[in-house]
Symmetry: C2
Subunit: 581 residues, 2 copies
């Protein structure tokens, strides 16, 4: 672990004055975040470039050293009631991490969280917001360390692991904290209520409105984006006054262990109980998430992962507010384009990035049988497939470049699905045949890493395969009888199975309007005619919402009002004031 | 039915220009509501006095005539697919109303609502807010008609039926509409997003954020406050773009039928499908609420009523967002007072009002065995009981005055519970004995009305009876071993069974602080030292929250952010803009 700042460096954080000073120090950042959240304009608190010119010459090597210092060691967090050590992470790039983490039972975790809760719960939004932003700043200072941890648990390539696991996740965290601040300060904390009574003196009361947290929150992390998908729920719950138990995916513990350590460090310095944020590492097959989720003390659950467990949580943890992000079937509707090369290159990059192991990667490319009008003439589905294959190869380039985009296959399940889909397509004659072959690439630095290029399968709307998510580098090129049928398939698959993202390519204002209406009705965000440096996979904090909560892929959105308001309640008290003389 | 305004009176409402003019006309009201909601100060859009000086000399007689015109008739709403007539309301004051309402099956209701939805869903918050405020204004104009309908379905006395069923309910409706407006306009509808790219031109996008309703909403009304408890959910769902099916309690249809008629009238004038608001009157034992609640098309449910059905909805309508207000055990903790006479009179009024048939009526009065310090010396529980009895009698006064406070017993269930509690207490020797006897009063105008004064039973903390709601004029005076035990019983009963209201009387700052902390932890609003014209039963729209959502009595609150945010989603689209030259 990196060492905590000394008391001399931050002498007064744990006093009311210290908390006020902290709030003042972070006020500009909070204000800028709130303005961006309202305006939906570009803003970022944390630079996304891992360049030494941005983070300094030392940051990269120091972060790598900090990461390596964890390997083969116990990651102590001084959590009370620990009964052993858990953890057996293996990098998708090959090496075993050899890190173990304190193991606590559900009882021990809940006892520690419950004991930590009262002071935090009653400390007020201003203090909590300041402490949370300080935590995110400390996490930002550990971005290189976290990037290596994300890389070696998710299989992301380094730059992506830095960006998505570091600053982009931190921006989503700050977004959640700012939204939590806004929601908790929606109503004046004290008010004078004076009701006229005709000729009699008015009724005169003082009223107090206090936001009070629900209690203990549980965050269940995922394998592929351990920080990015955990931070919104973690910080939304913490900022609204809850204690948070962080249950990482067993294959991606380290990024969240570093996160929890940073949070505990700041909480303790600020005079709060560090057990407000606890790591729940688990033994194999312990099913600790399910155990915790069924505890009545757990009032809030954030989950990212499989549809099966997400639906189980929604059905079985009814005592809690459950926010889920599950599987979806993302679609791109292709009707026409004025920039064919740009469109194909943009789609190629979307499929390549992290080997399609994103909940936002397009799965179904819907294109009319008769082809599409483009600035390079009419293109049939077969021509489009050939051009997509060429664009994928051009974008990948030589192997040492390709692996920096593809990363590694995160786990056996993804590889098995890819191989099964490829085998099925290779055996198929007509519909379901291979349009773009998935290649195996040898990683120049990590020979054990499994690297695969995207597989694209040409099929038809009736194929069952297009109606469920095949998480990983598998995409379906679906030829439809018409551009209208493409929209119909889009509407049908999103309504049935949900989607996190959707895109359309069209030069027709009328068709774009139809696509917008279809997306509004299906409840999915729509990217239109992306042909340059913005990809459908990517959302920007403060400006883009991630998921909508309006289709089966997710019941929540980063970060709308509904993602925050269920995490606390407003409790009022009122009393008469003496009549004015 | 009253006749709709002629086209000449409102010639242009159904045009975009007309909707803009309507929005302008209601802008000041919206702004004032939003300011009060933030500041929690006193404000009201609709005068609560039924005085002719306020509403005009004609309003009272015209409203009564309008009410009487419904009696013995079919209340036609021109709802499509009606297959008959339902309704068999009998006034708690005696007469059968003889009104029947169109009956539609769940299929017919959902088909009509679904067909009505699209234009409203896509019309935008400004138009919807304006239309909703216009509906509430029209409802306000029918306050006397609605007051008689509320009186003769709920058993409330006339003035209370006017206030709670009219302007107070209308204020809660406007509060919900204003909150819905605020939540839907939280994010800029369009934005320019410009991300710097170092030396390259910035990425430049236009983004659109659209609030989109969930679909069809169901409001399940209650017997005692047919309008007051239905309006927040009805107007929150409607203003956020949903179609609303209003399922009244079978004994309290008329107030909501008039409401639905007013809504349909305005919607049609504004060019929308009137089937956006539908009345779902049901045949006896049809269980239409349960049938509708299980339909997947129903995405939002608001319910006020029994804990049993509320919990059934929460468990079985998991495809919908369910907002419930159920039973609770309201408590008053009495430790000391500087105004004994004021305190006792205030409590007496709280127990008398509408025969205790309010979800906000105190049920448990917690008082230490050793008595309380007051400005009139120390008072034992027995002395307090005697003084409470005297205060109840003094407040009631002669029978013709008493009935204007008590109203009538709303249904047989309330009467049976009262009689059972009285019989049990009469048979008890020690704990559980009668402290204040319930008397029967003959109503001077309505001989068939069943009028009863409050029953107060003196008991101890171990009595099972104090741990569940006995809805109606039954209150427990609970002697505790100490003032601290009073707080403990308060905490325990609210945590176990919930509460809508709580109050404390104490002259000790320390004890008040303990009570505040207990109320915050238990999640119930607290009224402190009410000794004059504000009663624990009553909350003021815009300033007081009704229920908290933080204890088992309700999972929602009128009106916090959480009451609104689940009723719609934000769906985004984005597209590149040409680079600036």
């Amino acid at each position: 672990m990196t060492s905590a700042p000394t008391a001399a460096e931050r002498p007064d954080l744990g006093t009311p004055t210290g908390l006020e000073a902290l709030a003042q120090r972070h006020q500009d950042k909070l204000d800028a975040a709130l303005a961006a959240i309202h305006d939906r304009t570009y803003w970022s608190a944390y630079p996304e470039s891992p360049s030494p010119r941005v983070y300094g010459e030392e940051a990269g090597p120091a972060g790598q050293a900090a990461y390596e210092s964890h390997l083969g060691r116990r990651f102590d967090l001084a959590q009370p009631g620990s009964d052993g050590w858990a953890g057996s992470e293996v990098s998708p790039y090959g090496p075993e991490l050899g890190v173990t983490y304190p193991h606590l039972t559900a009882d021990a975790l809940i006892m520690a969280a419950a004991a930590a809760l009262p002071a935090w719960r009653h400390s007020g939004p201003a203090s909590r917001t300041a402490v949370c932003i300080e935590i995110i700043d400390r996490i930002n200072a550990r971005s290189f360390e976290i990037a290596h941890a994300v890389m070696h648990t998710s299989g992301q390539a380094f730059v992506m692991a830095f960006q998505a696991g570091g600053p982009h996740a931190q921006d989503r965290a700050l977004e959640a904290v700012a939204c939590a601040h806004a929601e908790q300060t929606r109503f004046a904390p004290t008010a004078i209520w004076e009701k006229p009574q005709g000729k009699k003196p008015p009724l005169l009361m003082e009223k107090t409105s206090t936001p009070i947290s629900r209690g203990i929150a549980l965050v269940i992390g995922c394998n592929t984006f351990p920080t990015w998908n955990a931070y919104p729920g973690l910080f939304a719950s913490l900022a609204t006054g809850n204690a948070v138990i962080v249950k990482p995916h067993p294959r991606a513990i380290l990024p969240l262990a570093i996160t929890v350590a940073a949070a505990r460090e700041v909480l303790a310095e600020a005079g709060f109980d560090p057990n407000l944020v606890l790591l729940a590492a688990e033994d194999p097959d312990e099913r600790l998430a399910a155990t915790l989720a069924q505890r009545p003390e757990v009032k809030i659950i954030d989950f990212t992962g499989s549809t099966a467990f997400g639906e189980w949580l929604e059905a079985n943890a009814r005592h809690a507010r459950v926010y889920t992000e599950k599987a979806g079937v993302n679609a791109v509707v292709i009707e026409s384009t004025s920039d064919y090369a740009g469109m194909v290159a943009n789609l190629a990059f979307s499929l390549i990035l992290y080997s399609g192991q994103m909940c936002t990667t397009p799965q179904n490319l819907l294109i009319p049988d008769s082809g599409i009008a483009t600035d390079q003439g009419r293109k049939t589905p077969a021509q489009f497939a050939a051009d997509l294959r060429a664009a994928i190869d051009a974008t990948l380039g030589p192997d040492q470049q390709a692996v920096e985009l593809l990363g590694a296959i995160v786990n056996d399940g993804v590889l098995a699905r890819l191989e099964a889909a490829a085998a099925r397509a290779a055996a198929a004659g007509g519909a379901g045949r291979i349009a773009v072959t998935s290649r195996e690439i040898a990683h120049p630095s990590f020979p054990q890493a499994r690297v695969r290029t995207p597989l694209v399968i040409h099929t038809e709307p009736g194929d069952e395969a297009i109606t469920s998510e095949c998480f990983g580098p598998v995409t379906y090129l679906v030829s439809t009888a018409s551009a209208q049928e493409a929209l119909a398939v889009f509407r049908r698959t999103v309504a049935a199975k949900g989607a996190i993202t959707a895109a359309v390519h069209s030069t027709s204002d009328e068709y774009l309007e139809q696509a917008r209406t279809a997306a509004l009705e299906a409840g999915v965000a729509l990217s239109e005619n992306l042909t340059s440096g913005v990809y459908v996979n990517q959302t920007a904090a403060y400006s883009d919402f991630h998921a909508t909560g309006a289709n089966p892929a997710a019941n929540a959105s980063y970060t709308d009002g509904d993602f925050i308001t269920g995490r606390f309640r407003v409790i009022q008290s009122r009393r008469h004031l003496p009549q004015r003389s």
